[in-house]
């Protein structure tokens, strides 16, 4: 809540709604990386707006999740610059390795694989985002090691 109040303090009197995105990020981070309807309603209350104003924002932005995702969600960039350096191959490799399709989560809820659009690491592809961090210049070996580290709880997400 301290973080939320700090964000709200960044905007003038009467402009609380402007804190919408930072507040939603903070709430999502604190709740298993997704936003349920009760959480969205709570945010509406905090920001003194109608719940619909929160819903329409959450559905617009790709970083807000309306459903649970794997604890470790690998978001592979599949836009051109990464793709021509093997980004789509990496995405396929990850799906095969984890036995899921793009957009799916493993049964134990540990891993998801998602294809995303350009993440601003175009010169360092293939790349993926995991939590708040980027993993760049990916190879199959690097990805294997990353999965292993996740399993052993060695990976920081924020």
């Amino acid at each position: 809540m301290a973080r939320i109040n700090e964000f709200i303090s960044h905007y003038p009197e009467g402009k609380k709604k402007s804190a919408m995105l930072p507040v939603l990020h903070a709430v999502q981070d604190a709740h298993d990386n997704w936003l349920s309807v009760p959480l969205m309603n709570k945010v509406a209350e905090i920001l003194e707006v109608h719940p619909i104003e929160v819903y329409e924002v959450v559905t617009f932005y790709t970083m807000f999740n309306q459903h649970p995702r794997g604890k470790y969600t690998f978001e592979f960039c599949r836009t051109s610059c990464c793709s021509i350096r093997g980004g789509e191959d990496m995405l396929d490799y990850a799906c095969n390795k984890l036995g899921i399709k793009e957009g799916e989560t493993t049964e134990d809820g540990m891993f998801s694989v998602v294809g995303t659009e350009c993440l601003g690491a175009c010169g360092y592809g293939p790349m993926l985002q995991l939590g708040d961090f980027y993993h760049e210049h990916l190879t199959e070996e690097k990805f294997d090691a990353l999965v292993e580290d996740c399993k052993q709880g060695k990976i920081k997400l924020d």
Binding site: H10, P12, K15, K17, S18, A19, M20, L21, P22, L24, H25, L47, V49, E53, E56, V57, F60, Y61, T62, M63, F64, R78, T79, S80, C81, S83, I84, R85, E88, D89, E117, C118, L119, G120, A121, C122, G123, Y124, G125, Q129, D132, F133, D158
Partner: protein, 452 residues
């Protein structure tokens, strides 16, 4: 041509930290600006410098600043655009990650010049670790009296905050960014009114790119006249280029404008030539939104002149044989890249990122993606190529914001310059079905089939 302005101090160990930055001349420009210059004098210096906005459109920055409404007495704002989502572009991240105080220093001076007391840096949500770097740097600036009330005892007050987005390319468009900063969906506004009159919370606002704002300290320290001496003609100063694709040394480079594309692409100091010694097939000089050019128009213009790294030279030939500097996202393709697949890739991007307000963009991007997908996967029809051409021409110029154009241009350029590759897909579907993500046989080897 190795002139450095933004990267002058970037290699100094610890330059991310306030103390080191300050010891190396940091914040000197703020002192000079606030204590010895009037806001209008700073605007004049920036005008004289010829600095053009680095966010993509290349609009003269001083001129933009001079439009801000100071008469109405409403509060004014500077919003730094750090949304950086144009495929191929990753320079702003580099600046903010490695030398964050340069941006903050520039934002303070720029806010002072605009007589703004509340400013924001809007950063894309995925750059969360950079967000934290900026947060820390801003705290340091407050702690040392460069932000807050009565800065340097001059009576000037400024609050600066960093605000994070949440994954939407369209929020890089300045009015969508403002909507987003107001806590709404990122739907671009119809202009006019322009932000300089009615922007954030209907108050006068200037939106500028990270790289543009980061150049301001140097201009204040050294004068606009000195800045204008760097570069070539109307392309003054240095430009950050984000280089990616099939080159030996991808990364972010600061170049003095005026260098030849050939030198930039092939010298070891810069991109180092092509990887695996495969031939150059195409390149995009300014991010996914600008036209792709085939090998024969890269190093020379249609008139046979050297193609230079300037706004003018990259645009030479218009969209028929030229392209655009855009945001400086320099993407290089060798002959293993499939132009059809790549165009499909970009179309998927624009369809995904369209905010959906205008039907030509919302529907058109979807149709283009669909048609390109079927051509790439071996289900294309002969009339599809003309259909694509038709669709893209109906989007261009018929939408609220330039995303529509940005989605149309890459398709138009790909068909204009690589039509035979589309023909090949349509006429020989069995050759491209089931291949992996790359070209099996370079066009050189199969071109003869088309003339049979």
């Amino acid at each position: 041509m190795a002139r450095k302005i933004l990267f002058e101090n970037i290699d100094i160990p610890g330059i991310k930290d306030y103390e080191v930055y300050r010891k190396n001349g940091g914040y000197r420009a703020v002192e000079k600006a606030i204590k010895t210059m009037t806001p209008d004098e700073i605007v004049e210096q920036v005008k004289t410098s010829g600095l053009r906005g680095r966010g993509g459109a290349g609009f003269p920055m001083g001129l933009k600043w001079s439009f801000i409404d100071k008469k109405s007495g409403k509060p004014r704002h500077l919003v730094v655009n750090a949304d950086e989502s144009e495929p191929g572009t990753f320079k702003d991240r580099f600046l903010m990650e490695y030398i964050p105080h340069l941006l903050i220093e520039g934002a303070i001076i720029s806010s002072f010049a605009l007589e703004a007391n509340l400013s924001y840096i809007y950063i894309r949500g995925e750059y969360m670790w950079v967000f934290k770097i900026l947060e820390k740097a801003i705290k340091e600036a407050y702690a040392n009296g460069w932000l807050g009330k009565n800065i340097l005892g001059t009576g000037y007050n400024l609050d600066l905050y960093v605000h994070c987005g949440a994954g939407a390319y369209i929020c890089g468009e300045e009015t969508a960014l403002i909507e987003s900063l107001e806590g709404k969906r990122g739907n671009p506004r119809i202009k006019p009114p322009f932000p300089a009159v009615s922007g954030l919370w209907a108050e006068p606002t200037v939106v500028n790119n990270v790289e543009s704002i980061s150049a301001v300290s140097w201009i204040v320290n050294n004068s606009g006249e000195e800045y204008a001496k760097i570069g070539l003609g109307k392309s003054t100063g240095t430009k950050l280029i984000s280089a990616s694709g099939h080159i030996k040394n991808p990364g972010v480079y600061e170049i003095e404008m005026g260098m030849t594309v050939d030198e930039f692409m092939n010298s070891d100091q810069y991109l180092g030539g092509m990887i695996d010694d495969r031939p150059l097939k195409a390149f995009i000089p300014g991010g996914s939104s600008v036209p792709i050019l085939p090998a024969n128009y890269i190093f020379k213009t249609a008139n046979g002149e050297d193609r230079l790294m300037t706004y003018e030279s990259l645009a030479d030939g218009g969209f028929t044989t030229g392209s655009s500097m855009g945001s400086g996202g320099f993407i290089v393709y060798n002959d293993s890249a499939c132009v059809v697949r790549n165009t499909w890739n970009f179309s998927r991007f624009y369809h995904h990122e369209s905010c959906g307000q205008c039907s030509p963009c919302r529907e058109g991007t979807g149709w283009m993606e669909k048609i390109l997908e079927r051509i790439e996967n071996g289900h294309g029809r002969q009339e599809d190529i003309d259909l694509l051409w038709d669709i893209q021409s109906k989007i261009e110029g018929n939408t609220i914001c330039p995303l529509g154009d940005a989605a149309a241009w890459p398709v138009a350029a790909a068909i204009r310059h690589f039509r035979e590759e589309f023909e090949y897909h349509v006429r020989f579907p069995e050759k491209i079905k089931n291949r992996n993500h790359f070209v099996n046989e370079p066009m050189e080897k199969v071109r003869h089939l088309l003339s049979l």
